[in-house]
């Protein structure tokens, strides 16, 4: 029984990171309607910049926020150079998908050039003994990860629900031509949502760096996990993507009880494939079928 609690807690921790990655990704997907695979690399940029700023002995919160700001700015720059041009040319989604895979590799390898392929450890917090809850062990850093991701997702919810900008983003996500007709500055809203998505993703990278050593290629796995979480929950809705990501975290960790731990990635890739085949709209589409347009 204790095992289960431990695996649930582990699931919550991995799920928190996936959820933060998926939230940014899904926000970008919904306002732009294309799959931004390079988001995984953007997440890693956040983690590495945090590492650099932290080495400058900045305050940890300042370092994290600055890393996220700079990453958001860089991502927006890349957006202007690539995706915005594709939009102007009315390129199809497949071209955008290929471009995003190319961007993912590009950023990955630029990171590798700067920081090397070996693991980079960020010692933001001293290593402390774990605390015990009902026989399960959780470290203070892990509690911070869970709490920060919940706060972050809460803030995103408030932004999307109660602010003018959030409402405009949802309007663009709903129907971008109609939003333009009623006077929403569509392109600026899209840029802003790209920035916010990358900002949140970069903070996800910061969370990753607290939990484990950074490797450039980790970004590829993170975006596949975030994407899988989003597809399981329902990519058309940001909250559903977040719930799907937590679910994926639980499923992966509970699967360890029955299968060797290496099969974690097989399970998430397999789930991604099955969901894309049988229910591309995810659980959200299964439960609220009439509300999904696709």
């Amino acid at each position: 029984m204790e095992y289960y609690i431990q695996f649930m807690i582990n699931g919550l921790i991995t799920g928190s990171i996936y959820a933060v990655v998926a939230a940014g990704f899904s926000l970008i997907y919904n306002t732009h309607k294309f799959v931004h695979f390079a988001h995984g690399a953007v997440v890693m940029v956040g983690g590495y910049l945090f590492h650099t700023f932290f080495l400058l002995e900045w305050n940890i919160i300042v370092a994290a926020l600055m890393a996220a700001m700079v990453t958001g700015g860089l991502a927006l720059g890349l957006y202007q150079l690539t995706y915005a041009v594709f939009y102007k040319k009315r390129a199809g989604n497949v071209i955008l998908l290929m471009a995003s895979i190319a961007l993912l590799l590009l950023i990955n390898n630029v990171l590798q050039l700067f920081y090397g392929a070996q693991a980079t450890v960020v010692k933001a917090f001293p290593v402390t003994e774990g605390l015990e809850f009902w026989g399960a062990i959780i470290t203070p850093v892990q509690i911070i990860i869970i709490a920060v991701s919940l706060i972050l997702l809460g803030l995103l919810y408030i932004l999307m629900t109660y602010t003018q900008l959030g409402k405009m983003m949802r309007a663009v996500a709903d129907n971008d031509e109609l939003s333009l007709i009623i006077g929403i500055p569509r392109d600026n809203v899209k840029r802003f949502s790209f920035f916010i998505g990358s900002f949140i993703g970069a903070l996800g990278g910061v969370l990753v760096s607290l939990q484990e050593a950074l490797v450039p290629s980790r970004g590829t796995y993170l975006i596949i996990k975030g994407f899988t979480g989003a597809v399981i929950g329902g990519i058309e809705s940001v909250p559903a993507s977040i719930i799907g990501s937590y679910l994926l975290g639980f499923i992966e960790n509970i699967s360890i009880i029955y299968l060797p731990s290496d099969y974690k990635i097989t399970i998430s890739f397999g789930l991604l494939f099955l969901f894309l085949i049988f229910s591309p709209g995810g659980l959200y589409a299964l439960f609220f079928k009439d509300r999904v347009s696709k």
């Binding site: 294309f34 799959v35 690539t82 041009v85 594709f86 390129a91 199809g92 989604n93 497949v94 071209i95 955008l96 998908l97 290929m98 471009a99 895979i101 190319a102 961007l103 993912l104 590799l105 590009l106 990955n108 390898n109 630029v110 590798q112 050039l113 090397g116 392929a117 590829t220 596949i224 899988t228 060797p260 290496d262 099969y263 990635i265 097989t266 890739f269 397999g270 991604l272 494939f273 894309l276 085949i277 591309p280």
Partner: protein, 284 residues
């Protein structure tokens, strides 16, 4: 000399892989991002059956192709309802599934330790190997050229340009797609076997996203639905990074630089001229 020979052999292998990719992507319009997994299946089938079970060379080659073909059959059936970018994502995730199986089935595939592949005696020599690759490349290019010029090839183009219209004219578009992707996967599987012999070693990471980007770059630079373009592009794409080799850089920089070069080339060609050199159709 050895260097030039092995580079030319590599170009020969990649040319056939890219040509067969173009059959599915360019000529039939199936956005199949799991092409590299067919290559991996072929390579691993060869590595296991030849080195560990000692089957004969010819049988191993055919079985490698057949396994890839069967898996392609399953994939196209499973993804029959997906279109456009969802098809791309479905096939991409299938690629990940195959990759993770190869990585995890350690007792069969050696996992992340990889597998060592013995070369048959008659192609142990670099020149003989090169001659075999050229022979295979000529045969497969000839077959593909015949296919795309045949009435069957015209039908594939019809499926790509307007699937509904092709169906309205009584053509079984699903069957046509199945045929195209199975041929493409069979050829790729065989080339996977050749690649395994060429490298004398297989590792799951040879068959990850990076290879997909290389092949995509080749096909898109050459142009969709153009065999000649793909052949030209294979030379261009594989020769450009060789320049890096002559600059005195440590390998920790050359590796990433290669990837950076490929991704920038792919981005630029998509941005500036997504039809490529001799492309006849646009990506949707």
């Amino acid at each position: 000399m050895y260097y030039v020979l092995s580079l030319l052999t590599q170009i020969g292998i990649y040319a056939v892989i890219a040509l067969s990719f173009n059959l599915a992507l360019g000529f039939t319009g199936i956005i199949n991002l799991s092409h590299i997994s067919f290559l991996a299946l072929g390579a691993y089938t060869t590595a296991i059956l030849y080195t560990q079970f000692g089957m004969s060379f010819g049988v191993v080659m055919v079985l490698s192709g057949l396994l890839s073909g069967c898996v392609a059959l399953f994939l196209i059936y499973a993804c029959r309802k997906l279109r456009g970018d969802y098809l791309a994502l479905g096939t991409l995730s299938f690629h990940f599934v195959i990759y993770s199986f190869i990585r995890n089935l350690e007792t069969i595939t050696g996992g992340t330790r990889g597998l060592i592949v013995d070369r048959p005696a008659f192609i142990n020599d670099g020149i003989n190997f090169f001659i075999m690759v050229v022979g295979l490349a000529v045969v497969f290019t000839f077959i593909l050229a015949r296919i795309v010029r045949s009435p069957f090839g015209t039908l594939l183009g019809a499926v790509r340009d307007d699937e509904k219209l092709a169906r309205a004219l009584g053509k079984d578009s699903q069957l046509l797609k199945v045929k195209a992707i199975v041929i493409s996967a069979f050829i790729t599987g065989v080339m996977g076997g050749v690649l395994a012999f060429f490298l004398r070693y297989v590792h799951p990471d040879f068959f990850f996203l990076y290879e997909l980007v290389t092949i995509l770059t080749i096909v898109i630079i050459g142009g969709l639905a153009s065999l000649r373009g793909t052949l030209i592009a294979t030379f261009i794409v594989l020769l450009i990074p060789e320049i890096l080799r002559f600059v005195a850089l440590p390998s920790s920089i050359i590796g990433p630089s290669r990837q950076i070069l490929y991704s920038i080339i792919l981005l630029l060609i998509l941005l500036i001229h997504s039809r490529g050199i001799l492309g006849k159709v646009d990506l949707h």
